[in-house]
Amino acid sequence: MLKSRRNEILTAAVLVAPFVAIYGWLFIYPTLQMVQLSLTDAPLIGAGNWIGSENYAQLLSDKIFHTAVWNTSYFVIMTVIPGTAVALAIALMVSRLRGWAQSIILAAFFLPYVLPVTVVYVIWDWMLNVQYGVLQHLITPIMGQPVNVWRRLPWLLPMTALITVWWTNGLSILLFLAGLRNIPQEIYEAAQLDGATRWQVFRRITWPLIWPVTVLCLTIQLILQMKIFDQVYLFSMGGRTQATMVLVQYIFDQAFVHNKGGYAATIAVALFVIVIAFSVLQFQALRARSAQ
């Protein structure tokens, strides 16, 4: 019996070995390298001198880093929960349609998700162009004059958040739709027989049964939006980049524009820790909720 157990373990180890090897080589090893880099003053290419925790000390007093943390949090607050709520609402509405009508509407909501970020940028940049943009016709009556949303500080992040929700909603809608389809019709029929109102049906039946999908969407969105870079980088290029900086953009800025590999690695380690902390926190909080 012992021999076959040992065989089992050996077989398991051999089968897992390729994955562990590749994962270790492509993810673990570079991460360790990154931590090591953050303890040096290396430029983008080449080695640097060991400076210990000097980079981390600098990070704590770095005004732009604090701005980046605040902006990233602000952006996450504006996209994760509102985006998931909007996706759920749309999924609920789409699930009431049937046949080809449902297919077409669903395709329309999913279409932005297919676009690459540069296409999204060009579309919205021109729609909101301060001289010629069609959407300025909506803004001008409210503000009194056309507003360059990419250069007026209070506007940039909320506008980018709105565009991001529009862009990434497709996946969440699909997930919610699949979750809704998994709820057996009998439950709804029983509720109808008992005379439940629409709101009671949603709160007591739909919401609890779709909770796992909600958790999934929230987690995906949270991790995705914490790493926001493309849209903010494109929309703020050439202007007030320091005031609208987000964390991944700051890493890019320090590494590629300022040629400071060691300091960029420090920011990356900080972001790594923040993302892990928040993911674990969120997961625990949501798990506690579903255990109720």
Partner: protein, 425 residues
């Protein structure tokens, strides 16, 4: 049987040998960042070179993204020996590249082989490609900013002199008065300059600083003495235009070009690389009478910000160029320098004096009109923080965008800029 096999083998060997002998062609891998109107003209130049050198050299060209992506890609490729054989490079970025060991030196022997020397080039671009007395690139052109103007609108406002060129534009107050005349005459905007991107407006601001005899300084000595005040005065010029309604606020690059070409703006300050946009539109009959002149003298002396495209050879780690490849690369550069007259149709001023002194160049308009600014050009400071798409540009974008549009005062913006520059290390 055996003899047939032998014959077959022999003929096969012969074919392979002749094929190998015929393809003794050198391929030169070329990277540039020239998209847009001038990119089209560069592609034509490369096609012509390949046609002329059909049996000896072939350029395999790739156009990459302008700005930080290009320079980072060059740096990372050269570090592993996968860089190109020749590339275009902005002269203002050479100090940083040299400090990173990205560029190979161009020796005096190389210059002799190409038939070029210090005497072939204007002094500003020649000095810009040297670091610590060593040469690292061959200047190809200089591309300053110029003042584009709508001849019809200016003539209607009485701003065209007897020589057909604009008049009464020198001096800050005169220029403002001219803008007012244009606006009163019915133009929506007197001038369109980029106001959404402080990093682009910096080219104009930098010129105005130089026109006052000021200088931005260099590593460790940024904006010392009264240069900070002069810089604030330069920023004030543009913020005045915006606050008086002569220049649209928060307007980005493509929009300023559209405003000018549609006739909404009577003038525009932009780079010479927009000249092909204008000539192509004019050829289709879709443009008014237009011209381009050197920036007016707003302060004490003429001065215009400029940069150069130059040809450089990357320092591919572990893979130095073979003598044959090096000879081919020098031939490419020599040919391009000799044919830079066609490049002038892209608006750029060729760096090769033999071309700018020729009768054909002197007949080109509006190039010949603004070529006079070559004597008054100023380049970026020689610093590894300077150059296009550099930390210096980034600092300008952050400091000046708000000031130009009236959100902060020019003095505050300059103080901001000085603090950012001093913090660079």
């Amino acid at each position: 049987m055996q003899s047939t096999w032998k014959k077959l083998l022999l003929s096969a060997a012969l074919v392979v040998a002749t094929a190998a002998g015929a393809s003794a062609k050198e391929t030169v891998v070329w990277w540039d960042f020239l998209g847009g109107g001038d990119g089209v003209r560069m592609k034509k130049l490369i096609e012509d070179f390949n046609a002329e050198h059909k049996d000896s050299i072939e350029i395999q060209a790739t156009t990459l993204d302008w700005g930080v992506p290009f320079y980072t890609k060059v740096q990372t490729s050269a570090a592993v020996g996968e860089g190109p054989d020749v590339m275009t490079y902005h002269a203002s970025r050479i100090p940083l590249a040299v400090s990173q060991g990205v560029l190979a030196e161009i020796t005096p022997d190389d210059m002799k082989i190409m038939g070029l020397s210090e005497a072939s080039f204007a002094s500003a671009p020649w000095s810009a490609v040297h670091v610590d007395g060593k040469q690292y690139a061959v200047p190809f052109d200089t591309h300053p900013i110029v003042l584009y103007y709508n001849k019809d609108k200016l003539a209607a406002a009485g701003l065209i002199g007897d020589n057909g060129l604009p008049k009464d534009l020198n001096g800050v107050d005169n220029f403002k008065a001219a803008l007012k005349k244009l606006k009163d005459g019915g133009s929506k905007w007197g001038i369109s300059t980029v106001t959404a991107d402080g990093s682009f407006s910096f080219r104009t601001i930098y010129s105005l600083l130089c026109q006052q005899g000021g200088s931005i300084g260099s590593d460790g000595h940024w904006l010392e003495g009264d240069n900070a005040d002069k810089l604030a005065k330069a920023v004030q010029v543009i913020s005045d235009w915006v606050s008086n309604g002569y220049n649209p606020s928060y307007t980005d690059y493509p929009t300023t070009v559209a405003l000018f070409t549609s006739g909404d703006a009577a003038m525009m300050i932009n780079g010479v690389w927009e000249v092909p946009t204008m000539t192509d539109l004019a050829k289709q009959g879709k443009l008014f009478n237009w011209g381009a002149i050197e920036l007016p003298v707003f302060f004490d002396k003429p001065c215009t910000y400029s940069d150069s495209h130059s040809f450089a050879i990357p320092n591919n780690a572990g893979k130095p160029q073979t003598p044959e490849k090096h000879a081919a690369v020098l031939e490419v550069i020599k040919w391009m320098e000799g044919h830079s007259l066609f490049w002038a149709t892209a608006g750029h001023i060729p760096a090769n004096k033999a071309v700018t002194d020729s009768a054909e160049y002197k007949a080109m308009q509006p190039q010949a009109t603004y070529a006079t600014l070559a004597a008054n050009m100023i380049y970026d400071p020689k610093s590894k923080f300077a150059g296009v798409a550099s930390p210096l540009f980034d600092a300008a974008g952050n400091a000046f965008t708000a000031a130009i549009n009236g959100e902060t005062s020019p003095a505050d913006a300059v103080a901001d800029m000085k603090a950012t520059l001093n913090a660079l290390k």
